[in-house]
């Protein structure tokens, strides 16, 4: 069993630590708030000779992901980190990384997209990348950010998957807050992550291959995309298996969906990221007052855990979906659209209310979560659900 050490560290510091422990061959990255301390920490590892990694400090995020793609196609284990505008600038390359089936691991410090410019947390950056073909994991805490990063490497490089994985943590709230984190010893991480054996590597010089070929003009483009869907579907089992193995090592279980109080909940909140802690805190208090409150936290957004969500919400009288991102002109935020779709096949007609909250780092106070549960209790008692989405905490 691994030796685990408890430390006090920021989310970014432990993501950098996890990346170091994965022993990547290449890291290509560009600094952006609030991801910056990840790349700074890693630069420190390089300067101290603690990694063998070739560290490429590119002139933009577009080039960072381009270099990651070149390095991964070459046969290297590759990591990077970004945030917000940087993720947006990578957008073209995100599709190419997944389309070329390259197991790159990237941390994203969730931050609002401009305009207006803002440096604080919301999920507009990552939700803009939700259809890029990446596996997307979310962390609530620094501990989860650490754990997700280590698991990401195994998931990405699994021959049944071979897809890039993004591990997302909330900007400033998780990236910069000092938290209690259990860190595994290097050797145990190395054993868990294992060696990477690339397929069709560019640097397999005796067997030259061409990467990034043209598949238009009646070529098999459609079939490539179908194969990509099959790979991300296969990743469901791989994620579960890797998490089970990791849980034995670390003592920390991982579910694509994690529930609190859902065994007998009448009212439930579905949430992603750091706000899950606030939601659990309020639910716990409400339980003391006799309200059967529950929380469903989504840790894996792609592939989306439809079945797990439907199962978790079965029997609930009213559901609130908390979105920290807009999908302008859609019926609700990105998480809402997924959750309500997941419930469509259910024989129950559970009222689902969408709350948009915390945009651009707007504070998520406990009173706000209390109003959500209050609304849900009213709906459960027979009151009509609000039509359309509700803005939570906007002035």
């Amino acid at each position: 069993m691994p030796t685990q050490k408890t430390i006090a560290a920021t989310g970014n510091a432990v993501v950098a630590e996890a990346l170091r422990q994965c022993s990547p061959d290449v890291m290509a990255a560009y600094p952006i708030t609030p991801q910056t301390t990840i790349v700074e920490e890693f630069a420190g590892f390089v300067a101290k000779g603690r990694v063998h990694t070739e560290y490429v400090t590119t002139e933009s995020e577009h080039s960072a992901m381009s270099a990651c793609i070149g390095a991964s196609a070459a046969g290297a284990r590759v990591v990077t980190a970004t945030s917000s505008q940087g993720l947006a600038l990578m957008w073209e390359e995100l599709h190419i990384a997944s389309g070329m089936r390259l197991p790159i691991v990237m941390a994203n410090a969730n931050r609002a997209l401009s305009a207006p410019i803002n440096i604080h947390c919301d999920h507009s950056d990552i939700m803009g990348a939700r259809d890029t073909g990446w596996i997307i994991l979310f962390a609530e805490t620094a501990q989860e950010a650490y754990d997700n990063t280590l698991m990401s490497m195994r998931i990405a490089e699994n021959p049944e998957v071979l897809l890039p994985v993004m591990t997302c943590l909330d900007g400033f709230i998780t990236t910069h807050s000092i938290d209690r984190v259990e860190i595994m010893d290097d050797e145990s991480v190395a054993d868990f992550v294992g060696e990477y054996t690339p397929v069709n590597a560019l640097l397999d010089l005796e067997n030259p291959v061409s990467h990034g070929n043209f598949a238009g003009l009646g070529g098999p483009f459609f079939e490539f995309k179908k194969a990509q869907r099959e790979a991300i579907e296969r990743s469901r089992k791989v994620i579960t298996d890797v998490a089970a193995e990791y849980s034995v090592l670390s003592g920390r279980p991982f579910g694509m969906v994690e529930t609190w109080g859902m065994e007998d909940a009448d009212v439930a909140v579905v949430v992603i990221g750091s706000t899950a802690g606030n939601a659990r805190h309020v639910a716990r208090q409400l339980r003391a007052d006799g309200v059967k409150a529950g929380v469903v936290k989504v840790r894996c957004f792609r592939p989306f855990p439809f079945a797990e969500i439907a199962e978790a919400l079965s029997g609930v009288k009213a559901v609130a979906v908390l979105d920290r991102a807009e999908s302008f002109g859609a019926e609700g935020g990105p998480l809402f659209l997924e959750v309500r779709s997941a419930l469509y096949d259910s024989s129950e007609r559970i009222p689902v209310v969408n709350y948009i909250y915390g945009l651009g780092g707007s504070d998520v106070r406990l009173e706000l979560i209390e109003t959500v549960f209050k609304d849900l209790s009213d709906i459960a008692a027979g009151e009509e659900a609000p039509a359309g989405l509700v803005y939570l905490g906007s002035r």
Binding site: S23, P24, D25, V26, A28, H52, T53, E54, V56, T57, T58, E59, S60, H62, S63, A64, S66, A67, C68, I69, G70, A71, S72, A73, A74, G75, A76, V78, E92, E93, I96, L202, L203, D204, L205, P208, V209, S210, H211, G212, N213, F214, A215, L217, G219, P220
Partner: protein, 310 residues
């Protein structure tokens, strides 16, 4: 440097049977550059463009060497990643430390002068041990002859049309070779497919240096220039003889003209055979034609001063 006989014994890494047009300057540039690379393994990267789409139609590939295409603007960044992987894997003990591999990125002028300039500048500044080769045919040929910042002034292009209000491209072209020289990298050269020995020698030097190197290769496009398919090499030669495309190199900051031109021919000898310049020969455009000659002379003289200072 290898002589012609030696070069003929080297294996072509770009196989025939690709779908580039007859008379395409790009494939000539690639073959000459890769012949100059010598016998060590070469990993090739390529920007989106004619060269890429015509050589890698799935499931085929014309490349007998490892090849990667990523996107349009990032062949330099992509190959910088491949080179970084090589170093990282060597340090990891997965590739022997004495193993030698060359890395080269190709891009057209659209993918290099315009959309890929930042990616190129970054890769060169970071000092990757790689060669970047621009095959300059002076427009976005793959998408149908749209103007780029390499398109010469006065040239017709589908986005720099000729009409009563405008006579083709109204702006001067960008001098990318000098911009790359300003990066103070070990080796920068300007070459032409018409001067094969000069080009293969420059390629050999570019691959030999420890660090980044850049070569700008003049590579005519018969389709876009409105010239006969069998006149590619001839028009490239005239570009050199008129001083429109001087052949030189900048080695560790020392500027040297590699092909001397004793008496520059008038630039109209380069312009006249090309359909893309035909409007310039109308009497009302005489002034524009004279301006083009003045520009060539001025740029030529400025370059001569660089050579004499070195």
């Amino acid at each position: 440097m290898a002589n012609l006989k030696e070069l003929t014994h080297r294996e072509d890494r770009l196989e025939g049977g690709h779908r580039l047009c007859a008379g395409c300057g790009a494939s000539i540039a690639v073959r000459q550059v890769l012949l100059g690379a010598g016998t060590e393994p070469v990993v090739v990267g390529c920007a989106t463009g004619c060269l890429e789409v015509s050589t890698t139609i799935y499931p085929y590939s014309s490349w007998k060497t490892p090849f990667i295409h990523n996107a349009f603007e990032n062949s330099a960044a992509t190959v910088s990643g491949v080179e970084a992987a090589f170093k990282g894997l060597q340090r990891a003990g997965k590739i022997p430390t004495d193993k030698k591999v060359k890395f080269v990125a190709f891009g057209g002028d659209g993918g290099t002068y315009d959309i890929g300039l930042q990616s190129l500048s970054g890769a060169m500044e970071r000092g990757h041990d790689m060669v970047y080769v621009c095959y300059d045919n002076g427009a976005y040929m793959n998408t149908g002859i749209q103007r780029s910042s390499a398109t010469p002034k006065g040239a017709w292009a589908t986005t720099a049309e000729v009409g009563v209000a405008q006579q083709g491209k109204t702006q001067r072209r960008k001098d990318l070779t000098q911009i790359m020289a300003a990066h103070d990298i070990p080796y920068v050269a300007q070459a032409s497919i018409s001067h094969w020995k000069d080009l293969t020698d420059k390629a050999a030097k570019a691959f030999a240096v420890d660090g980044p190197a850049f070569i700008n290769v003049f590579a005519p496009c018969p389709r876009g220039w409105r010239i006969a398919f069998d006149s590619t090499v001839e028009i490239a030669k005239i570009a050199v003889q008129t001083g429109y495309w001087p052949l030189y190199e900048v080695e560790d900051g020392v500027w040297r003209q590699t092909v001397k031109v004793a008496n520059k021919k008038p630039v109209i000898e380069f312009l006249k055979p090309q359909g893309r310049f035909k409007h310039l020969f109308k009497p009302e455009n005489a002034e524009l034609l004279a301006e083009i000659q003045t520009d060539v002379d001025r740029q030529w003289d400025a370059l001569q001063r660089r050579f004499s200072c070195s």
